[in-house]
Amino acid sequence: MKLLKYRYLLLAIIVVQNVFAQQTDKWISSESDDNVQPKLVDFNDSIINAYEVVYNPDSEFLLRGQIISIFHEYVENVQIEVISNGNKYFTHSAGFGVFALAIPRKLFEGIITLRLIHEDYRIFDTTLYIRNKETGNLKLNMVPKYKILVKGRVFEGSNPLEGVNVIIRHNENVQELKTLGCYYDDEDYWNCLYNGMFKSEISSEYATDSVYISMNKKGFQSRNYSFLFSEYTGELLLFKLKYADSIPDLGKNDLCLRLSFPFLTKDQWFIDLSYYHRLNIGSFNRLSFGAEASILLTTYKTSHTTLPGLPDAEADSVYLRGFIGPSVIAWITKPHRRYFSTYAGATVGVYLNNPEIGIQPFIGTRFFVDMNKSIGLEVRYFSNHLEVVKYTFSEFGDASRSVNTIINESLLLNLGIQVNF
């Protein structure tokens, strides 16, 4: 009986060793990586034998062995599935890659199926024919997968962009990430080192597998990118997201500051502050009402004769006029357009010194530079009365002054910044 028992054990060991010897030869011949420096570890019976599991030899047989990668590294935490007589048994490899599993046996011989699963290694499947209650020490080699750490940074223009949804897709595996923002670090500094960055470790069995990265954020055009495992060399991937053509959450209020310079005008400076509230009447949202206050600085030149034999002299008169009143804007294009959101409007108000009522019609367009700030370009028509001083030169002292009232008409091109809230 004892001889019979040992004969079966011997046969089982021979069968298992043959099976894995073939497997190992095949892997080594098909996979080689010169860049990996192998650790000098190898199968060690004494380590395997030191891993003891309590079992009943009369009703169970012991499946025991060691798992080492083809690069001679112990593989721990491998999920081991064993199917015997239609039942599944599970265990994990422990330190030094050793494992042992006591499996109930009804027959002294039979087929068991063994599957090794580890996220960093290829799945290993094999079948054993067991003739005895002990299998001897199994010595199994696993082939690592390709593993890469994908790192990227997403920008809007030159600014890192946080909160971007990043989806990394590889075969059936999908990871959803968000780009990081700034944060207070352990030393209580506002740390923006990783602003706009993401990273993820992914692995694949084949170097020709593709990785797809999709990026999207509200208000931006989505961006896609793909590469092969073998193409990625570990560099930081840089992506730029472009703004979408429309503002996703356009506020109803606009605060504008406009300035005009003596550009294409006759020495006139203009500063204007205005506030508008956009009305929503059903689906109609193209009318804004508000108020406007502005200051117009006009430099008016007059010329007059002086001493005989000398050219005429010019005298400047500077006029500052405040203007305030209600204003209305009609949006010619949709107001939430990012570029060339065009409008026309008018302000009816009072010129504060030498009071008179005036109207300033205007037409303009704006370009959003981010989600709520825009730059506007506007042409405005002015018509107001100016009391221009005319000088008459005298050889005997100060020139005499006479005041003429003129109508000052002009078109002013002004540049503005606008905050939408």
């Binding site: 605060l255 502050l273 506030y275 206050a293 200051i295 600085l297 007059h304 002086t306 001493l307 005989p308 034999g309 000398l310 002299a313 010019e314 005298a315 400047d316 008169s317 500077v318 006029y319 500052l320 006029r321 405040g322 203007f323 305030i324 504060l352 010194n353 009391e387 000088y391 030169f393 005298s394 050889e395 005997f396 002292g397 100060d398 020139a399 002054r401």
Partner: protein, 179 residues
């Protein structure tokens, strides 16, 4: 936010609603013919008259002297250069009277030179460089002064636009020498 901005806008608008008042200045020089102007210095100098004699002019130092300088019938006038485009010098038969920054007795001016004339330059003018004046109007070439008569002279200059006097000298006197 709007509530806090609106008062600032109103204040700015009211402050802005003022026209710039030109011509006012804090300068005050009582000795000058135009008291609200910068002084044109008249240094001591000498020149050779038509008769070949050397004439000494005390300049500003004679202003406080009861005795006037004695000059030739065609004197020479000198002052520190002002470097302005509009400059004028005049000889009057009576004391120059200025009110509201303008010479009131312009009819008493008998000779003038200004920076629009071809001869003479800022800082040094001969009598023959100027022209005679009658009733405040420029006439032809200069008529020699009358011997033993007392005259008053001064220099003044305008700002670049010619609207206000910015520089002037003291009013100096001289008596024309006998023939």
């Amino acid at each position: 936010m709007i509530k806090s901005i609106l008062p600032i806008i109103f204040i700015a608008l009211f402050i802005s609603s003022c026209e710039k008042d030109e011509g006012t200045t804090d300068i005050y020089n009582e000795d000058l013919i135009f008291t609200r102007s910068i002084k044109i210095n008249i240094p001591s100098y000498s020149y050779i008259s038509g008769k070949g004699t050397q004439i000494f002019v005390r300049g500003d130092t004679s202003y406080f002297s009861p005795v006037s300088d004695t000059l030739s019938v065609e004197p020479v006038f000198a002052w520190d250069t002002v470097n302005v485009a509009l400059l004028h010098i005049g000889i009057f038969t009576e004391e120059i009277q200025v009110s509201q920054n303008r010479i009131q007795n312009s009819n008493s001016m008998i000779w003038a030179w200004h920076s629009g004339m071809e001869s003479g330059s800022d800082g040094y003018v001969k009598y023959s460089d100027g022209i005679s004046v009658s009733l405040g109007e420029y006439q032809g070439s200069a008529i020699p002064l009358i011997p033993l008569n007392k005259y008053y002279w001064a220099v003044w200059a305008w700002n670049p636009s010619g609207t206000a006097i910015w520089f002037s000298s003291r009013q100096l006197t001289f008596v024309v020498e006998d023939r």
